[in-house]
Amino acid sequence: MSELDAAEVREIAEALRSLDGALLPILHAINDRFGYVDEAAVPIIADVLNLSRAEVHGVLTFYHDFRREPAKRHIVRLCRAEACQSLGADRLAEELDAALGTGTDATVETVYCLGNCALSPAALVDGKLYGRVTTDSVLALVRR
C-alpha cells in the first residue's frame, strides 16, 4: 500500500470513528474505495479505533464480504442457495467456471440468496442484480 493510500485509509477511518460500532462501516468503506482491504490497513484502523490488530484482523476475516486481495474487473456473485439450486445454479456455476477459467478479468463468487428467489437463478454482476440468468446472459455481461 502506498503512502498516499495509507493516508486515505486513516482519513476514512477517522471520518467514521465516532459511529457506534464503527469497525464494520470502516471496513466497508475501505473495501468499497479500494476494492479490498489491504493487510497494511489493519494497524492503521486498529490505531484509530484503539483496538488491537488481532481484533481488527479477527473481524476482517470473519465476514465473507471483505476482500483481502485486489478484485478483478468484473465480479459475478452467483447465488447457489436452494431456490437457485432448484433451477440449476450448480450447473450454471460449473459452466461459468469453465468458460471464464483463469486469465480472464472476471471472477465468479458464491453467495447464498440475493432475495430474487422467485426469479431464480439469480446473480449480482458488478453490483447489479439479474434474474433468470443463463450461462450466456452472464457471459454477455462480463464480456461487454
Partner: protein
C-alpha cells in the same frame, strides 16, 4: 381512454428482469411527444411471474401489462387494453385478489419515497394513535393482537416488548433484523424497497412502547438496492419530522440508522447481529442474558424482524381485534408467504394463516416452471424441512408445521421438480452449516464437515446403512450440542430428506454398477 399515470416498479427483482429498460422506453415515448403520461416508480406487488409489470391508470382502475419488455412499450401505450400483454385490472387478477394484503397493502401501489402518498394510503395513522397512548397500552395492544415474531422463532412480540419496557436503563434500543438470509425469502427486501415508511413507523412505535430513543436497521449486504432505498427513506422521514427529536410535533424523540451487514448468515441470529452491530465478529452469545435485558451495548434491546415491526402500525391503526381475527389457532394475523424456486407463478402471497401447502404450491404456484411434476418443497429456509407432496394438506400455521417436523420460519417456500436429488440437498444442508458456522460450538463447526464427508460416502454407495446410521447420530449431536439454531436445526432438512425420500439414499456401490 385518457392516460394519466404509468406505474413501473423500481424493485430490485423487477429491475433484475428489465423494469429499468421498460421505464426508459416510456420516458423516450414521452420525450418524443408520442405519449403524455407521468411515470411513478413503485415497489413490486410481488407478482414476480408477471414482472416487469407495467400499469396504466384508467378511470376503472390500474390496467396491467406483463411481462413487458422495452420493445412492447410503444404498442402498449397505443393499444391499451387491446394489447396482447394486457392482464386486465391488476386488482382483479385472481392471484392477487384472493390475497389478504395487510402489511403489503401499499407495496407496488405507491411511490415508496413519497411521504404524502404514504399518508394518503393510511400511513402514520398507527403512529398518531400511539403518540396518544400510554406505553403500556401500546404493548397491551400488540400482545392482544397475537402477533408472533415473523423472523423464524415465532416468539410473541408483545411479551418481548413488555420485558424491554419493564427494564430500567440509561438507554434502550430498537433493532430491526433485516438480515433475511434464508433461501426463498424476499419479503423483507420487498417491504424495504416498496414501503419503507411502514417499517420506520413500526420502529418508532416500538421505541415509544419500550422507551427507546435510538434504532438500528441491520440490512444484509446482499441487498444493496434495499439499503439505498431505506437510507433515503430515513433521510426523508427525518426531514419531515417523522423521526428525530420531535416526532410529529409530539416532543418525543427517536433516531434511526441503517447499517450494512458483511455477508454472514449467522448475523441473522439476534445475538450475533448485536455483536456485529457493535463492530465485532458475529458470534452467537449464550442466552441468558436475553437481549431484551442485556442487548446492544449491554442495554435493553428489542430485536424484531422487518415483518413483525411492519405489522405493528396496522395493529394500532385498525385495532388488535382486527389483526387477531385473521388466522387460525395460535397463529394470528397474516403471513407474507414467499413462493420461489422451480415454480411457474412465484412471488409474494400475503394471507391469513391457515391455507394449505397445496393451495400455495398448486393454486398460486401453478406447478413447476420446468413443467415436470413437483417432488419436494423446502419450507422455512435452509434449516426448514423438505416436504413430500403427501404432506401438502398441512395448513400453514406454526403449530401444524412443527407437529409434522418442520417449521414455517420466515415463510419461504421453495419448489423442486422430480429431477431433485434429496441426497444432494441433505449434503448441502451440512455444507451450508459448515460454511456459515460462527465457530463457537464444536458439533456445528466440525460435525457439519463430517456430515458432508459421510454424505459423500453414501453417494458412492460405500457402506450405506452404516453411514446412514452415522448421519443420524451426527444429527443428534448437532441438535443437542449446539448453542444456536444453525447447528441445532441442521438435522431438520437432513432428516426430513432421509425420512420422506429414502429412495434417494439407497445408493449402489459405484464398482458394482460398472
Amino acid at each position: 381512454m385518457t392516460i394519466r399515470c404509468v406505474y413501473i416498479p423500481a424493485d430490485a427483482a423487477a429491475l433484475s428482469v428489465g423494469a429499468g429498460d421498460v421505464a426508459r422506453a416510456v420516458e423516450a415515448e414521452v420525450a418524443a411527444g408520442r405519449a403524455d403520461v407521468s411515470i411513478v416508480r413503485t415497489g413490486s406487488r410481488g407478482l414476480f411471474w408477471l414482472e416487469p409489470l407495467l400499469e396504466i391508470e384508467t378511470p376503472e382502475g390500474r390496467l396491467g401489462f406483463g411481462p413487458v419488455t422495452a420493445e412492447d412499450v410503444t404498442g402498449i401505450l397505443a393499444a391499451g387494453a387491446d394489447h396482447p400483454l394486457c392482464v386486465g385490472l391488476v386488482e382483479e387478477i385472481p392471484w392477487l385478489k384472493s390475497q389478504q394484503r395487510v402489511t403489503f397493502a401499499r407495496c407496488g401501489v405507491i411511490d415508496p419515497l413519497s411521504l404524502s402518498d404514504y399518508e394518503a394510503h393510511g400511513g402514520l395513522k398507527g403512529l398518531r394513535r400511539a403518540l396518544d397512548m400510554a406505553p403500556d397500552d401500546i404493548v397491551a395492544a400488540v400482545t392482544a393482537s397475537g402477533l408472533r415474531g415473523r423472523g423464524g422463532a415465532g416468539f410473541p412480540t408483545g411479551i418481548k416488548w413488555r420485558t424491554v419496557a419493564g427494564a430500567t436503563a440509561d438507554r434502550k434500543y430498537v433493532v430491526c433484523n433485516a438480515d433475511e438470509g434464508d433461501s426463498g425469502t424476499f419479503a423483507d427486501r420487498m417491504l424495504m424497497e416498496g414501503d419503507p415508511f411502514l417499517l420506520i413507523e413500526g420502529m418508532v412505535i416500538a421505541g415509544l412502547a419500550v422507551g427507546a430513543t435510538k434504532g438500528f436497521v441491520y440490512v444484509r449486504s446482499e441487498y444493496p438496492h434495499a439499503f439505498r432505498k431505506l437510507r433515503k427513506a430515513i433521510g426523508i422521514a427525518q426531514a419531515a419530522g417523522m423521526l428525530g427529536r420531535n416526532i410529529l410535533g409530539s416532543g418525543r424523540r427517536f433516531d434511526l440508522e441503517a447499517r450494512l451487514g458483511a455477508g454472514a448468515y449467522i448475523c441473522g441470529e439476534e445475538t450475533s447481529l448485536l455483536e456485529s452491530l457493535e463492530g465485532k465478529r458475529g458470534q452467537v452469545r449464550p442466552k441468558p442474558p436475553l437481549p431484551a435485558l442485556h442487548g446492544l451495548f449491554g442495554r435493553p434491546t428489542v430485536v424484531n424482524n422487518v415483518l413483525s415491526l411492519a405489522a405493528v402500525p396496522t395493529i394500532l391503526a385498525e385495532g388488535a381485534e382486527y389483526y387477531r381475527d385473521l388466522g387460525v389457532g395460535r397463529s394470528r394475523g397474516t403471513m407474507p408467504i414467499q413462493l420461489a424456486g422451480n415454480v411457474r407463478r412465484g412471488g409474494l402471497i400475503e394471507r391469513a394463516f391457515g391455507l394449505t401447502l397445496r393451495e400455495i404450491v398448486e393454486d398460486y404456484g401453478g406447478g413447476t416452471r420446468t413443467g415436470r411434476p413437483v417432488r419436494a418443497v423446502q419450507v422455512g429456509g435452509p434449516l426448514g424441512a423438505y416436504w413430500p407432496t403427501s404432506l401438502f394438506d398441512t395448513p400453514f400455521d406454526y403449530e401444524a408445521f412443527a407437529s409434522r417436523g418442520g417449521m414455517i420460519g420466515h415463510g419461504g417456500v421453495v419448489v423442486f421438480d422430480d429431477s431433485v436429488d434429496l441426497l444432494r440437498q441433505a449434503r448441502f444442508a451440512f455444507a451450508f452449516c459448515a460454511f456459515e458456522s460462527c465457530g463457537k460450538c464444536t458439533p456445528c463447526r466440525i460435525g457439519s464437515t463430517r456430515g458432508v464427508e459421510t454424505m459423500d460416502r453414501i453417494a458412492r454407495g460405500d457402506r450405506v446403512a452404516d453411514n446412514l446410521a452415522l448421519v443420524r447420530d451426527l444429527c443428534e449431536v448437532l441438535r443437542d450440542g449446539s448453542l444456536c439454531a444453525l447447528g441445532g436445526l441442521t438435522h431438520v432438512p437432513v432428516l426430513s430428506a432421509l425420512d420422506h425420500f429414502p429412495e434417494d439414499f439407497d445408493r449402489q456401490p459405484a464398482v458394482a454398477a460398472e
